[in-house]
C-alpha cells in the first residue's frame, strides 16, 4: 500500500513543478465557473424554472458537477497506456514490482487531489467575487453518500480507462475506442447537461449504468436535488460496476500482456 501512496505523492509533486501551469490552472477553473454563471443567467432570463431547476440550483449543480468532473483524469490513462505499449516503454511497468493498474490509478489520484484543492479554492473565489450562492444539501447522509461515490467513481473510471488502454496489446490502434467512449461518457455522466432534462425512459436505462453515478448522482446529492434512497441505489450500482470493472481490467491485462513484443526497446 505504501508504494501506491508514494506514487500518489509523486504525482502530486509533479503537478506543482511548473509555477506557470499552476497559476493557469487556477485562472482556467475560475473562468469556467464564471462562464457558466453568465450562460445560465442568460438562459434563465425572465424564467423561474428550467427543467425543474431554479437558477441557484442549476448553478450549484454546475459548480459541483464541474468540480467533480474536473478531478477526473482517467482519460489520460487509456491514452498513456496505449502509447507506452506501442512505443515499447510499457516494459518499465512490467518489470516493476507494482500492479500497473494500481500505479496508474494512484497517479490519477494524485493529480485529482491537486485539482480538487484548486477547484475548491476557485469556487470559493467565485462565490465571494461574484456573489454566487452555491446551495449544498443539509442532509449529512446525502453528503456522505456523495463523498463515497466520488472516489468510487474515479476508481471505476481508472479501471475502465486502463482496460481500454490494455486493448492496445491486441489491437495496437485503439483510437476508435477512445473517440467513441469519450463522447458517450461525457453524455452519460451528466457532464454535458443535467440528466434530469432527458426523457424518463432513457434516464431509467442510464441509472443502471455506472457513468451516471460518477458525476451526476453525487452532484445531485450534494446540491440536495436527489432523494437519499436514489443515492443509495446509485452507490450500490456504482460499487458493483467498480468491482466488476477492476476485475475485468486486471484479467484483461493478465491475458493480453503475453502478446506484448516490446517493440522499440
Amino acid at each position: 500500500m505504501r508504494k501506491y501512496l508514494e506514487v500518489f505523492r509523486l504525482s502530486f509533486k509533479m503537478q506543482i513543478v511548473w509555477r506557470f501551469d499552476v497559476a493557469m490552472t487556477m485562472v482556467a477553473t475560475v473562468a469556467r465557473i464564471v462562464a457558466a454563471w453568465v450562460l445560465w443567467q442568460a438562459i434563465f432570463a425572465g424564467k423561474e424554472l428550467v427543467g425543474g431547476f431554479t437558477v441557484g440550483a442549476m448553478l450549484s449543480y454546475y459548480v459541483v458537477c464541474s468540480i467533480v468532473s474536473s478531478i477526473d483524469f482517467s482519460h489520460k490513462i487509456s491514452g498513456e497506456v496505449c502509447w507506452l505499449i506501442r512505443d515499447g516503454r510499457f516494459s518499465g511497468h512490467m518489470v516493476a514490482p507494482m500492479n500497473p493498474l494500481g500505479f496508474f490509478g494512484s497517479m490519477q489520484a494524485g493529480e485529482s487531489a491537486f485539482h480538487l484543492g484548486f477547484s475548491l479554492i476557485a469556487a470559493a473565489i467565485c462565490a465571494v467575487a461574484f456573489g454566487m450562492r452555491v446551495a449544498l444539501s443539509a442532509d449529512i447522509l446525502q453528503i456522505l453518500l456523495a463523498a463515497a461515490m466520488i472516489p468510487l467513481g474515479l476508481a471505476f473510471m481508472a479501471g475502465y480507462h486502463f482496460w481500454i488502454g490494455t486493448l492496445t496489446f491486441k489491437f495496437l490502434d485503439i483510437d476508435f475506442f477512445l473517440h467513441v467512449q469519450g463522447n458517450v461518457i461525457a453524455f452519460a455522466t451528466g457532464a454535458l447537461i443535467p440528466l434530469a432534462l432527458l426523457p424518463q425512459g432513457l434516464l431509467q436505462v442510464l441509472r443502471l449504468l455506472p457513468f451516471t453515478h460518477v458525476v451526476y448522482t453525487p452532484a445531485m446529492l450534494l446540491t440536495g436535488q436527489m432523494a437519499t434512497g436514489e443515492g443509495l441505489f446509485g452507490l450500490g450500482v456504482l460499487a458493483m460496476w467498480t468491482a466488476a470493472m477492476l476485475a475485468i481490467a486486471q484479467r484483461t491485462y493478465g491475458r493480453l500482456r503475453v502478446k506484448y513484443d516490446g517493440v522499440g526497446i
Binding site: K13, G92, P97, R257, Y260, G262
Partner: protein, 326 residues
C-alpha cells in the same frame, strides 16, 4: 544452481508485411500478410551466481530479445527458461524484486522531478528497509561522486550524469541479477570509465550477477571474464573473453617514425595502412611481429616505434562475421 538457465529457448515474432505504395496498402486492408521471424533460436545459456557475462552481437542478432525474455517482458515461444528459479513471464513480484534492468536508451527516472524523488519511489516499490536504503544510497553516490546531482531536476542532467543516476536507482534494492543494455551508449570516455569502475565494484563487492549487452567492446573486454556471442538468434561463442579476443586479434599495428627520409618496403605478410617518407603504419600477423621488428630496427634509422593492439572495430567485425584468424 544457476541464476540464469535456458535450454532450447526460442522466440518467433509474427510481423505484418505489405507491398509498397497505395495499392499495397489497400490490398493489405483486405488480404493481410504476415511473416514469421525467429529472433532467438534454440538458445542454451547457464550463468552462475556472481558472474559478469558480456552479450555481444550485431544489431538484430537477438540479444535484446533474449534479455526481454529473461526479464519476463516477453514470453518465449518454446524452450526452457528460469531466472533465479522463476519463470520470468509470470511476472511475480517476488521475482521482480530480485533483479534490475538498465537500458541505456530507456530511462526509469522521472524527468520533471529530482533523482532523489525517483529513489524514494523505488524505496517504497521494492520495500527497501530504511537502513539499507540509506547505506546503499550513500555508497553509490560516493562511488560516483554524484552528490551534487541528487536534488537537481532530472531533465537538466547531462547524459552521463543521468546514466549514473539510472544505475543508482537500479541498484538501491541490492538486486541479485542486473541486466544492462548499452549502459555506456553515447557517453564520453571519462564517464564510460567511471561507469565501468562502478560496475566492477558492484559485481565484486555485492556478488551481483551481471549480464551486459554492449556494442563497446572495451566495456565487455574490461568487465566480463566471460562472453557470449550471438549471431542470427543463435549462440556463436560462449567462453573466455580473453580467449575470444586473442582468437580474433590476429594482427598487431606497428607505427614507425623514421629519423630521416626513408624508402620503406612493406615486409612480406604485412598490410600497409599509411605511408610517407617519415612515417609508416602497417599491420603484421601476431606471430611475425618479433621478426619484423628486428628487421626494421636493423635496416632503418628510427626516431620512434609503437606497437598497438589491432583496432577494436576490426576485431568486432571479425567476431560478428565468424572469421577466425588464428
Amino acid at each position: 544452481m544457476y541464476v540464469i538457465h535456458t535450454k532450447g529457448l526460442t522466440k518467433s515474432y509474427r510481423r505484418f508485411e505489405k507491398e509498397e505504395g497505395l495499392r499495397g496498402s489497400i490490398r493489405s486492408l483486405f488480404h493481410r500478410q504476415f511473416v514469421v521471424k525467429t529472433a532467438v533460436r534454440d538458445f542454451d545459456l547457464q550463468v552462475k551466481e556472481g558472474e559478469f557475462v558480456g552479450l555481444i552481437g550485431p544489431n538484430g542478432a537477438g540479444k535484446t530479445t533474449l534479455v526481454k525474455m529473461l526479464t519476463g517482458i516477453i514470453a518465449p515461444t518454446s524452450g526452457e527458461i528460469a531466472v533465479l528459479g522463476y519463470y520470468p513471464n509470470k511476472l511475480e513480484n517476488a521475482f521482480k524484486k530480485q533483479y534490475a534492468v538498465v537500458m541505456g536508451q530507456k530511462s526509469q527516472l522521472i524527468f520533471d522531478l529530482t533523482a532523489a524523488d525517483t529513489f524514494l519511489l523505488f524505496k517504497e516499490m521494492y520495500e527497501i528497509p530504511k537502513e539499507v536504503y540509506r547505506r546503499n544510497l550513500e555508497l553509490f553516490i560516493d562511488l560516483f561522486g554524484a552528490r551534487e546531482y541528487l536534488n537537481m531536476q532530472v531533465r537538466t542532467l547531462s547524459l552521463g550524469e543521468r546514466m549514473k543516476m539510472e544505475l543508482v536507482t537500479a541498484l538501491l534494492h541490492n538486486p541479485k541479477v542486473l541486466f544492462l543494455d548499452e549502459p555506456t551508449i553515447g557517453l564520453d570516455a571519462p564517464a564510460q570509465r567511471q561507469i565501468r569502475a562502478f560496475l566492477k565494484e558492484v559485481n565484486q563487492r555485492n556478488g551481483t550477477t551481471i549480464l551486459l549487452t554492449s556494442h563497446y567492446m572495451e566495456d565487455v573486454r574490461s568487465l566480463c571474464p566471460r562472453s557470449v556471442v550471438v549471431g542470427q538468434g543463435q549462440k556463436v561463442y560462449d567462453g573466455s573473453t580473453e580467449a575470444l579476443f586473442n582468437a580474433y586479434q590476429t594482427h598487431k599495428k606497428i607505427t614507425v617514425l623514421f629519423a630521416g627520409e626513408s624508402h620503406f618496403a612493406v615486409p612480406v605478410g604485412c598490410t600497409m595502412i599509411e605511408q610517407s617518407p617519415h612515417k609508416a603504419v602497417f599491420t603484421v600477423p601476431k606471430e611475425q611481429g618479433g621478426a619484423v621488428l628486428e628487421r626494421i630496427m636493423g635496416e632503418y634509422p628510427l626516431n620512434d616505434i609503437s606497437i598497438e593492439e589491432e583496432d577494436m572495430g576490426v576485431i568486432v567485425e571479425k567476431i560478428y562475421q565468424g572469421e577466425t584468424g588464428a
